[in-house]
């Protein structure tokens, strides 16, 4: 069962994509949001799961939230999003900026997640091995750095067929809003003190990285693994870029359902 629906969120709405039947697993997206049901959601649902994927405010159809001005605001908004979407206490897969927010939330609300599968989270910074700036490049450059195969994110970056001209303009505005929200979460350096809070993340965590991540070097997997108190698995997906689940949806779905302590 596939559906896209809206839920009231403060004075506006957020959009949720849901697919499949079975035990519930949440997905907190990365920088390209959820431009409709995408291959990773479908792959994960194929393992007899109901995947619930809210778009955070400002991303892919969810209205921007004018109250967001700081990372603290984002963490509160993420917490509310889990509640509104019925995901509090569920196992969650979180990617990129979504993974960073999941860690920040888990540090202050440890019961928010039954377990986490984190795909290349932002949040740490090594000046000798820095993360890339995904935005100091042209739009095509911003796109190509996110995945090993630039076409993997076509659903987000490209105009969709059979759309009227006026809708394409609004699609472009919505895409710009998503990119703005993505940028705002990691601007100018994606390090906001998370390392001092990681010891508070007590739920089981599985870490996944793409071998060809050009945004956050794969060496950061070890940094997170060393800093988190309850890492139950680490995986490097060969040939995948930063948004591993977009490059290799089936492989990541398999890792999720076989991760220790995945189910409640």
């Amino acid at each position: 069962m596939t559906s896209r629906y809206s839920l009231p969120f403060r004075d506006a709405d957020i959009v949720v994509d849901a697919v499949g039947d079975g035990s519930v697993v949440g997905y907190l997206h990365g920088g390209v949001g959820n431009p409709g049901v995408h291959p990773f959601l479908t792959s994960l649902a194929a393992h007899d799961r109901r995947v619930v994927a809210p778009s955070l405010p400002g991303f892919t159809g969810s209205a921007p939230c004018p109250d967001i001005r700081s990372l603290y605001d984002w963490v509160v908004v993420t917490s509310e999003t889990l509640d509104v979407a019925g995901l509090a206490g569920c196992p969650v897969v979180a990617s990129s900026v979504g993974a960073m927010l999941a860690l920040e939330l888990a540090a202050v609300r440890p019961e928010a997640f039954a377990s986490l599968v984190l795909i290349a989270p932002f949040g740490l910074w090594d000046p000798g091995d820095p993360t890339a700036d995904p935005f100091a490049r042209t739009l095509s450059g911003q796109r190509s750095i996110l995945t090993a195969d630039a076409m993997a994110t076509s659903q987000f970056f490209d105009d969709q067929p059979d759309r009227a001209a006026v809708d394409l303009i609004e699609d472009n505005v919505a895409r710009y809003s998503s990119r703005t929200s993505f940028a705002s979460l990691i601007w100018p350096i994606p390090e906001f003190g998370l390392s001092t809070r990681l010891h508070r993340v007590t739920c089981p965590v599985t870490l996944v990285w793409g071998s060809d991540d050009r945004v956050i070097p794969v060496s950061y997997l070890e940094r997170f693994a060393n800093a988190l108190p309850n890492v139950v698995g680490t995986h490097v997906v060969s040939g995948a870029g930063h948004l591993v689940e977009w490059d290799a949806p089936d492989a990541v779905a398999e890792l999720v359902v076989t991760a220790p302590f995945y189910d409640r």
């Binding site: 001005r69 935005f135 490049r137 703005t180 705002s184 601007w187």
Partner: protein, 421 residues
Amino acid sequence: MKTLWFHLMPYPELPDSFTDDHRSVWVDIDPKLFDPKVAHHMYNDYIDELEFAATVGFDGVGVNEHHSNAYGLMPSPNIIASTLARTCPDVAIVVLGDSVALYNPPLRVAEELAMLDCITGGRMIAGFPVGTPMDTLFAYGQNPLTLRERYHEGVELILKAWTEPEVFSFNGHYNKLRYVNCWPRPVQQPRPPVWIPGGGSVDTWEWCAQEGHVYLYLSYFGYKAGLKTMRGFWDRVRAAGKEPNPYQAGFAQFFGVADTEAEARRLYKEPAEYFFNRCLHVYAGFADPPGYKTPATVRSGVEGMIERAAREATQRRAAPAGLGGKSTMSFDDMVEQGYVILGDPDQVAEKMVEMATRLNVGHILALCQFGNMDRDLAMHNTELMGSKVLPQVKHLFDDRWEDHWWPKPLADHERHRPVAR
């Protein structure tokens, strides 16, 4: 019509191969290209030029703010303005201005501009740009999501600091000040004129129209390219129920004056090519980061000045040489498209009137030094503009419109008299 002599202060010794060897004049330009000894002469030459302009017929002189670049070397416009405050006693001084969101708290801007207004006896115009994305987001690390809200809050704080008669508290999202008490306060009451430089943001038109600020279009690409933008602004003014007073607008334009058109082409070719090809050599990846534009501007499809410059530079570099592609823009193109208004004084005056009339702008920011133009040529250009062009154009609009956005200085008998030396 009022004409101000406006300086960008470009770094004058970028290498000939700069466009080919370096990706950007802004943000990550090679620090090794900067020579402080060059800058010593550059700053003093440029201040000489501004001071000279103040003596030959211009109504004002102008400075602005940029960071981490060779396009314009005024990280602090207030420093340059403070030198001019003393040495240019008879003209307006327009600071275009302080990028409000970059100051913490922006009360500092209120204080420094009030100092300038006191020193000048009320000849200061306060410009408040949002700032380019290169300056604000990349060089100064502001967050694109909050830049404009922070900017508007800062402007609100400054204007309130100038006009509130009592000490007050300011509880903003970004500025928490228990006691706001701006000492000094500006000479001009209730406050100095506010001019807002813009590069094409739809929301800035709307805001200026509603608040009654001057909208100043900082165009690099001539008045014909500016028609759409200015039309958008005037539409907003009319929609706000106000008259289209040309003095509520300004426009920046490059000028090159000589005794003949042929001489003008000979004199200004190199500096124009230097400016348009090297000073505007902005890497496209710095020109349009997500969040810098408002949703309304994205929806309108209006392209900003910097964005256009970067796009055109990228297109020129990408064009195959064998198919006529070249990494630089030709001088003939610049003149043909009106980027630079060139000619003898009569020709320039005629084009200036045409430009001001069609755009309906009462304030012209004249760029008479550009690129690597040396001081002697800049002064020659300035002198011809001041003595032979401006007398032909200065009365435009006077028969119908009053300039409500011009400084109101102290009367002569109230002004400070410098000590004889």
